[in-house]
């Protein structure tokens, strides 16, 4: 029997529940209470593609050190789902804890003897207390939270305050919830040995950080970015982005005097229509976006090419998920890199942004509209399910009051009246970006006909090869300009000089940073570079050039970012080693550390032991 795990403010709790049983809000309460105790948490939902009845998990990592990625492994399993019992029991670390509903006796063979078993007759307690079936189910969740508060030595006041906040306005519900909470806590204090070896202690490691979902943050970014038109078609995990935009708009975009809306949200008939509306609105000078996921990106391909060639701004939030159909799609992946970077027919390339957390979803959400207008092209903000649909602890959102929208190169009626030369596809400034006019600007000047590729610099119909090539070359020049405008990568240098580097992006970041620390502790030093945008700028080229071996960590099977690096920058393939995680769960620190250490071992690299 291994020693029970002992840890304060550094462990992983996983809840195994049945979808639709009301467990989600109770589990969220648990995570938030720990935050209120000043201890950072990272929480993640793993949910099925249905509304009721299938297994769902909620993982809460408690980390005073502030590690917000997934660590891997489970220290305390709250096993509330008989369907997944065996796999849940199996996932507990040796010396870990299993909390379960002991109302019905379980055969001994279905336990493990290397973990601590904590049984509590939850169903029995509920049945004794409540007669209504729905109440029995809902309060069971609160009762186990009460028990956990005792087992983990949590601050009751924090939980009670949260319950008060949660039911504000529905005050009738506060008392029964508090009662259930205490019932659980009192039972645990009386019958179970409290606290366990793992516990939570009040700290002040959270600071002024906030806890929110990337989708809500991205939607608010769009609002601050000046978006007025949103066209979307429901698809997990992006729907909550459009829904959050609607919520934010109702709060911030209703004209106080008239009660009328400074926004239009259309639930389109499909993703083709969504992107078509975005393109039409942006052509006409409004800031417009859509939110979608991989299958939607597939459907938008033709229009994305049109927007690229006709040079129309568009913002696409792609909340990435697993492949087609349903099931895996409610899991996370970073698997749309190539389908977005090279979306559509003909020679096309697109600008991508990779936010690392909700704060960056907000910032890039707003920035995307400036970039789209400046570059007159589609901009993809590449979230994933992990960032989009989970609440992350992140720095507060900030807005510079002096900031103005960059509407890009738009000729006004005054410009035209003053006789400025206008040719829709003329490169007057040498940056590949032409001027445009909004329809209806001037009675006699500046009107043009928008079409795909068949045109000359003055937007007149032309099937001349030379005109086509001229235009395509200018588009390349514009893409070079984009390199200087997308957010620069962020370096995380090793503590000592090293020939090894690692490139990563998006939701991988927190697990990656923890892995870099863990590897360093093993004497393996790597310089890190977090990519924030495509096309890649000079910093990325320099980074790869200055290292012998560069790992590229991604959450997809085909090393899509690596492919993009190889094709766009012409790197030596042998130099870029893929590290790939794609089972649908968010990547973990342990996975990355292990994979990199293994590869280096295979390459015969002896770690430099720290001299103590």
């Amino acid at each position: 029997m291994p020693k029970p795990i002992a840890a304060v403010n550094d462990f992983v709790v996983k809840f195994a529940n049945v979808n639709g049983s009301g467990s989600a809000s109770a589990n969220q309460l648990f995570a938030k209470a720990i935050l209120r105790m000043g201890v950072p948490v990272a929480s993640r939902n793993i949910f099925p593609s249905n509304i009721q009845g299938l297994p769902t998990w909620f993982e809460v990592r408690i980390s005073e050190a502030g590690h917000l990625g997934r660590r891997g492994g489970v220290d305390l399993m709250v096993a509330m789902n008989p369907q997944t019992w065996d796999q849940d029991v199996k996932s507990v670390e040796p010396g870990g804890y299993l909390f379960y509903d002991s109302t019905k006796p379980m055969p001994l063979a279905r336990f493990r003897d290397d973990i601590q078993i904590i049984g509590m007759p939850l169903t029995e307690i509920c049945n004794r207390q409540y007669t209504d079936a729905r109440q029995r189910q809902l309060f069971k969740n609160i009762i186990y939270i009460g028990a956990l508060s005792a087992l983990l030595d949590m601050d009751m006041a924090a939980i009670e305050t949260l319950i008060g906040e949660q039911f504000k306005g529905k005050d009738k519900l506060i008392q029964p919830n508090l009662q259930a909470l205490h019932m659980g806590r009192d039972y645990a204090l009386a019958h179970l040995s409290c606290p366990l070896g793992i516990s939570v202690r009040r700290s002040d490691a959270v600071g002024d950080r906030i806890y929110l979902e990337g989708n809500s943050a991205a939607a608010l970014g769009a609002l601050y970015g000046g978006a007025t038109v949103c066209a979307w078609y429901p698809i997990t995990p992006s729907s909550s982005l459009a829904e959050a935009f609607a919520r934010h708009c109702r709060r911030y975009r209703v004209d106080a005097a008239t009660g009328r809306n400074r926004f239009a949200i259309i639930q389109a008939e499909d993703e083709l229509a969504s992107i078509g509306m975005v393109i039409g609105a942006a052509w006409n000078g409004a800031r417009a976006f859509t939110a979608t996921s991989g299958p939607g990106i597939s459907l938008m391909q033709e229009f994305l090419g049109l927007a690229y060639f006709a040079e129309i701004p568009a913002v696409i939030f792609d909340v990435q998920r697993g492949g087609p159909s349903t099931g895996m799609p409610t899991r996370t992946q970073q698997a749309d890199i190539l389908s977005c970077a090279y979306a559509s027919h003909g020679d096309t390339k697109h600008v991508l942004l990779f936010p690392e957390d909700p704060r960056e979803c907000f910032e890039m959400g707003a920035l995307a509209f400036d970039l789209a207008d400046r570059l007159q092209t589609p901009i993809f903000v590449m979230l994933d399910l992990d960032i989009g649909m989970n609440e992350w602890l992140c720095e507060p959102l900030r807005w510079d009051e002096a900031r103005r929208m960059d509407r890009g190169k738009v000729m006004t009626a005054a410009d035209l009246e003053a006789g400025k030369e206008f040719g829709r596809y003329l490169d007057v400034d040498g940056d590949g970006i032409p001027y445009r006019t909004y329809p209806g600007t001037h009675p006699a000047r500046g009107a043009f006909f928008t079409r795909g590729t068949t045109k000359n610099r003055h937007a007149r119909y032309s099937e001349e090869g030379a005109d086509y090539v001229d235009n395509m070359q200018r588009l390349l020049k514009k893409f070079d300009t984009a390199k200087t405008l997308v957010p620069k990568p962020v370096a995380r240098p090793a503590k000592q000089p090293t020939g090894h580097g690692v490139l990563y992006f998006g939701s991988t970041t927190p697990a990656m940073h923890e892995a870099l620390d863990a590897l360093e502790a093993q004497g393996i030093h790597l310089d890190g570079l977090r990519l924030r945008g495509f096309p890649f700028g000079q910093e990325v080229l320099d980074f790869v050039a200055s290292h012998e071996q560069v790992f590229v960590v991604e959450q997809n099977r085909d090393a899509q970012l690596r492919t993009l690096l190889l094709s766009e920058a012409g790197f030596d393939a042998a130099k870029l080693t893929p590290v790939l995680h794609y089972d649908g769960t968010p990547i973990t620190e342990r996975f990355i550390s292990h994979a990199i250490a293994e590869r280096l071992r295979a390459l015969n690299v002896t770690p430099l032991r720290k001299t103590i």
């Binding site: 009660g259 009328r260 509306m277 229009f303 329809p439 009107a447 079409r451």
Partner: protein, 351 residues
């Protein structure tokens, strides 16, 4: 193939409209369609309607999909912004454009392949939403641009140029538009300018989704015996339910008709439609009766034309969405961005 700009020199005696524009100011580039193509007549009717309505050309946006019909916006209203989008998707682009600036007039030009085949969905949903637009289908029963394949509006039993019979049931765009909730529905014929021009004018004045199905024979691929979209066939089977006079508010209404044969309808914008009834019992305000009538007469082989349905009190998408009067593309920071204090309050709610 390059664009040929028409010389803009005006004949001094060309008549001008109230804005001082001549007919030529509403024209576009020289058409590259086949000589005699019905689509060119529709372009001419659009030019005439806009000229007679005294519309400032730059306040019109013309959008289309792909096809010979969808190429036509290049050939009219050269001073307007145009958008030749992708096949079957004009309606979504137009919807977005309309959301961005509610003050322009939107002409959506499409073909029967564009709207009844690949774009049937977008056609349906744009009509359902009540987008304020004039949606024109230049209907020839074939795919002109891809050289003569049957389209979804080709009648069952009609024959293509090589004599092959169409065995698929046809889609009647007008019935569809009625079903989907269009608030102005008409059918006309490219060969009947007297009918088409007033219908276009009334459609432009209409606040809401106005749909016009214009039979427009393809002389290259669908003008033979056995076709039900040929000039001859349509002329022989054209049954107008009414003739329309379109009167802008500025003009006095002359009363010179027999009682009971004329109906006068005033639209939202104050424009007046005077309907001279041909089919005495036809009621343009009854959607269900209109659908029945079309089914019955269609089955009898008639091509029913005229103003088929009108809801003069219609609302449009902006009304449903309760949007502000000011076009979105003119809203600035103060109207759009809540600022840092609001953001701090938002942060505070997430701690």
């Amino acid at each position: 193939m390059t664009y040929i700009a028409k010389p803009k020199l005006h004949h001094p005696k060309l008549p001008t409209n109230k804005l001082g524009f001549t007919h030529r100011d509403y024209e576009g580039a020289v058409s590259t369609l086949c000589a005699g193509c019905g689509h060119d007549s529709i372009s001419a009717a659009i030019v005439q309607a806009c000229f007679e309505l005294d519309l400032p050309p730059h306040r019109i946006a013309k959008l289309s999909g792909i096809g010979c019909s969808s190429k036509t916006p290049t050939y009219f209203l050269g001073a307007s912004h145009g958008f030749n989008s992708v096949h079957g998707r004009m309606p979504s682009v137009l919807t977005g454009a309309n959301l961005a600036n509610r003050d322009l007039i939107y002409l959506g030009v499409s073909g029967d392949g564009d709207s009844a085949s690949i774009g049937l969905g977008q056609f349906a949903h744009s009509i359902r939403r009540g987008v304020n637009m004039v949606y024109i289908v230049e209907n020839n029963g074939v795919y002109g641009l891809t050289k003569g394949q049957f389209s979804a509006t080709a009648d069952k039993g009609s024959k293509n140029k090589r004599g092959v019979m169409n065995t698929d049931s046809s889609i009647d765009m007008v019935s569809m538009a009625l079903q989907f909730g269009a608030s102005f529905v008409a059918r006309s014929f490219s060969g009947d300018k007297d009918q088409l021009v007033p219908l276009l004018k009334a459609a432009i004045a209409h606040d809401g989704a106005a749909f016009l199905d214009v039979i427009s024979p393809c002389v290259a691929f669908n003008n033979h015996l056995g076709s039900t979209k040929s000039f001859d066939f349509v002329r022989e089977h054209n049954e107008a339910v009414n003739r329309l006079d379109f009167i802008t508010t500025r003009e006095p209404i002359r009363v010179d008709y027999q009682p009971g044969t004329v109906e006068v309808v005033t639209q939202h914008d104050g424009s007046v439609l005077r309907l001279r009834k041909v089919a005495a019992d036809y009621d343009v305000h009854n959607r269900i009766a209109a659908m029945n009538y079309l089914q019955e007469r269609g089955a009898a082989g008639e091509v029913v034309t005229g103003l088929l349905y009108l809801d003069a009190e219609a609302h449009d998408l902006h009304g449903y969405l309760n949007t502000v009067e000011k076009p979105f593309n003119e809203l600035g920071e103060a109207e759009l961005i809540p600022g840092s204090e609001s953001l701090e309050r938002f942060n505070q709610s997430l701690r």
